[in-house]
């Protein structure tokens, strides 16, 4: 088979896997089902992926890569707080625009990480963008030069944003009787609190609607 056609089949397998996951859940992903839907022989997908976990790892690997590129593709101002705030808004934007990818990356048990190093590398790369943005901040508390300090602060920021995405997308949020006008301010307010947590001297007020968003 020519190289170009092989490449196309590989991409087609990944695309079809995503459709299967979207329509019937990650449990129903199998090489056989992918082959059936693509109209190829049962053997054809095996030339590219030794198992369904390898397909899923490739789906995840590409998702982490796209996610990291999306986080990174923002105007850089040179002000470390502004740039971190913009990254936070990009995170919320990605989660809203790509709920299936988001769920697969962060709310679904992945294939064995040790068996899929490329997937791990891509996940780590996304995290390192946040870690590096945190390392640029002039922090005073919590011994910022200690080993792992920037990683822990990145874990803090990621936890906050991931937690808010999860809660805002859950049915629970409707139970809490938060006034709608207030709830609409949840993201800027959380970003304001994150700024204070990361010791920005004077965070922008939340009344402007967004904090440290693009101008």
């Amino acid at each position: 088979m020519p190289a170009q056609k092989r490449k196309n089949l590989r991409d087609a397998i990944v695309d079809e896997a995503l459709k299967i996951i979207d329509e019937t859940g990650v449990e129903s992903l199998s090489l056989r089902e992918v082959a059936r839907r693509l109209g190829t022989s049962h053997q054809a997908p095996y030339k590219h992926f030794p198992s369904r976990d390898h397909i899923l790892a490739e789906v995840l690997s590409r998702a982490y890569g796209d996610f990291a590129a999306f986080l990174d593709d923002r105007p850089k101002t040179g002000d470390s707080y502004t740039d971190l705030g913009a990254m936070g808004l990009r995170y919320f934007e990605y989660a809203r625009a790509h709920p299936l990818h988001y769920r697969l990356m962060f709310n679904t048990p992945p294939p064995d990480p040790a068996a899929h190093p490329e997937m791990m590398d891509q996940a780590r790369h996304a995290f390192s963008l946040l870690r590096d943005a945190i390392a640029d901040l002039p922090l005073q508390h919590g011994d910022p030069d200690a080993p792992g300090a920037a990683e822990l602060d990145a874990l803090f920021v990621w936890s906050t944003i991931h937690g808010l995405v999860s809660i805002l997308h859950s049915d629970l949020i409707g139970c809490l009787q938060i006034p709608p006008d207030a709830l609409a301010q949840a993201i800027p307010r959380v970003l304001m609190r994150l700024s204070l947590a990361l010791e920005e001297a004077e965070p922008a007020p939340t009344s402007s609607g967004t904090l440290q968003s693009d101008p």
Copy 2:
């Protein structure tokens, strides 16, 4: 049937439902399966619960109630930051000790909230404990007296702690190559950052292992 026996059957149904969910997932919960495992007639559970969603709502209602009682059952010092930090530690402790209840409350689509007001009331009560603890803090930023301000700050704190629980319990955390010594400090460090976010003048250092934990 005597009232005491009826009450026991109701409790037995709830207990058995939890076992079913634990063993085979929430999708496999049904009135028929509960009756089969309890050795009662198919009709017996219907005397207490009109549908499997009503059983699930009762499971959740009790879980929220127990969770709230656990959060509230801590020594109160009268210092609002210390008391909030202790509540945070209780939250982590509950999530570690009761992973099934935690997952059902916060990571599983609930039955229609509008059809199960008691479940909603219990969920709201747990949130109100956090909200009230936040309302006691002397906050300066973000117009603390505005309608919904304490709710949004409670949402911020809950997002952070829920997000950290989710990430620490996921397979992803192992991919990030955070030094184990540092990772062991994740909870106290996140509580330290939360203190700064909530404008405590001088949060305790994280090197003591725990921040604002019980003495």
